[in-house]
């Protein structure tokens, strides 16, 4: 055992390092829509592109399968799991719970410094909107939500939120990619809600802050439905239509 323990530790660690890099690379591609939802992943090609063997790719794929980003379709093939309506609903609900709760707590705990950061993020975001820079807006959006989480001052809420971060990011890219046509209106709306939440926090109205935060999150995902993305999408029409049927029955 001694021999195994000592002999394999460094080797395993470097292997783990490479596996990690390959995993990060593919995950990044999926999140930033380099590989689109529903698209097949050619592992041989990825291996050739990255100049690595198939083993680290295999391990990365296993991890991505476990996390629900890809699924194996045939013997060695994989595809990116299409974004389903039910998944979108679930994420939206979970975010509403966590961030609504965080807003409630933040209203009681927030200090002058965090309030100032929030105010700045809103002012700067307004400038972005004026210049039609929607990508830059995303940055200030992140600052707003993260600051609010810190202000809630509850490390367990943060642990949970960190766990969802990748999925939230995925939807963020997804929405900004497919909902370009309504970006101006959505951004304006989001900004109004931010300043609304800010005012509630400043006046320490906890329930108002919670309600407005829940509204804000629900609206973000509503865009996907307004544009009919789940109905029109050719890529995953089958899954989504059956989801929709279920919904209608209810």
């Amino acid at each position: 055992m001694n021999k195994n323990g000592n002999g394999h530790a460094p080797e395993n660690q470097s292997a783990a390092g490479l596996n990690d890099q390959v995993y990060q690379y593919i995950l990044d591609q999926i999140i930033k829509l380099g590989i689109e939802p529903g698209q097949r992943i050619n592992t041989t090609k990825v291996a050739a592109n990255l100049g690595v063997s198939r083993t680290p790719i295999r391990s990365a794929m296993d991890r991505l399968c476990e996390e629900g980003f890809v699924e194996s379709v045939s013997d060695r093939g994989y595809r990116v799991i299409p974004i389903a309506m039910s998944d979108c609903f679930n994420l939206c609900d979970a975010r509403k719970i966590l961030e609504g709760g965080a807003a409630y707590m933040a209203a009681n705990n927030i200090g002058a410094k965090d309030l100032e950061i929030l105010e700045h993020s809103i002012v700067d975001a307004k400038l972005c909107l004026k210049n039609n820079e929607y990508d830059a807006f995303a940055e200030y959006d992140t600052i707003f939500h993260e600051t609010l989480f810190n202000a809630a001052n509850n490390r367990y809420l943060k642990i949970m939120h960190d766990r969802m971060k990748i999925k939230i990011d995925r939807y963020r890219y997804f929405i900004s990619f497919y909902c370009r046509s309504t970006a101006a209106e959505d951004t304006r709306h989001a900004l109004e809600k931010h300043s609304c939440i800010f005012r509630a926090l400043k006046n320490r109205y906890s329930s108002v802050a919670q309600n407005e935060m829940e509204e804000h999150i629900a609206y973000t995902y509503r865009t996907l439905f307004n544009l009919g993305w789940f109905i029109n999408s050719q890529r995953n029409s089958k899954e989504n239509l059956s989801d929709l049927d279920e919904l209608m029955e209810k």
């Binding site: 323990g5 000592n6 395993n12 783990a16 719970i97 966590l98 367990y156 642990i159 999925k167």
Partner: protein, 240 residues
């Protein structure tokens, strides 16, 4: 995972990543309070115990720092995150937010199997409270809460609850260790669970949410009664 289990695992799969096994070994010791909150972690001792080099231990400790179970002291030292009542209240605040809402959804989505499982867990609580087995009561308590979360049918909520589980377990173990009273558990636990169960079964979402929030809130009082809140000597206790 204890030492025997660790050695068994190594023998079974000598090529598995050692860092992962060491991580699980130390995490287990912290959660089960074999390593006392606030105590220093002796890497040399662990290395000797497991008969391995210190590199994988270092990797595991870095990961545990990220998880918030371990704190770094100075350049090379590590200690188990201490517990205090403020941290405990933060945990229960987070639980209130998550589980109250999970109960709301569960009232709409729970199936007959979920109802059965909830009922079964309540019976388990009653049985083990009569036997005076505190650890088994907590197991049954966790089964109830887990089932409510599961019944929400929302994979995100289920995964979020899972990430809190180690901490929930850790505080429960500490309560059992302190043992200031005859029992570490709430005598009215089964009764309150029954109320939540009935609300979910009758599909009263708002009632289920309120009762669940109230229930998690009530745990504060129990923690206070049982001496967890305001106990200065929490840290540094070790199970022999």
């Amino acid at each position: 995972m204890d030492r025997q289990e660790f050695i068994k695992q190594i023998e079974k799969q000598p090529f598995s990543v050692l860092g992962e096994l060491v991580y699980q070994y130390i995490a287990h010791d912290i959660i089960e309070v074999h390593l006392a909150p606030g105590s220093k972690i002796n890497t040399t001792k662990i290395a000797q115990e497991l008969n391995i080099s210190r590199t994988p231990i270092r990797t595991a400790l870095d990961r545990l720092v990220g998880d918030g179970l371990v704190e770094q002291v100075g350049a090379k030292g590590f200690k188990v995150c201490p517990v205090d009542w403020k941290d405990c209240i933060a945990l229960y605040d987070a639980r209130k937010v998550l589980e109250g809402n999970a109960a709301y959804i569960a009232a709409n989505t729970a199936t007959t199997e979920h109802h059965e499982k909830l009922r079964y867990s309540i019976q388990l609580i009653k049985k083990n409270q009569e036997l005076g087995d505190d650890l088994a009561v907590f197991e049954a308590d966790n089964l109830f809460h887990e089932t409510v979360v599961e019944a929400s049918g929302n994979d995100y909520i289920i995964s979020l609850y899972r990430s809190l589980k180690p901490w929930i377990r850790r505080y429960q173990r500490i309560l059992v260790l302190i043992k200031n009273h005859q029992t570490s558990t709430d005598p009215h636990l089964a009764a309150k669970h029954l109320v939540i169960y009935r609300a979910i079964k009758n599909r009263y979402s708002m009632v289920a949410k309120n009762e669940m929030s109230d229930h998690v809130n009530h745990i504060y009082r129990v923690l206070f009664d049982r001496g967890l809140v305001g106990n200065e000597r929490l840290n540094g206790r070790e199970r022999k």
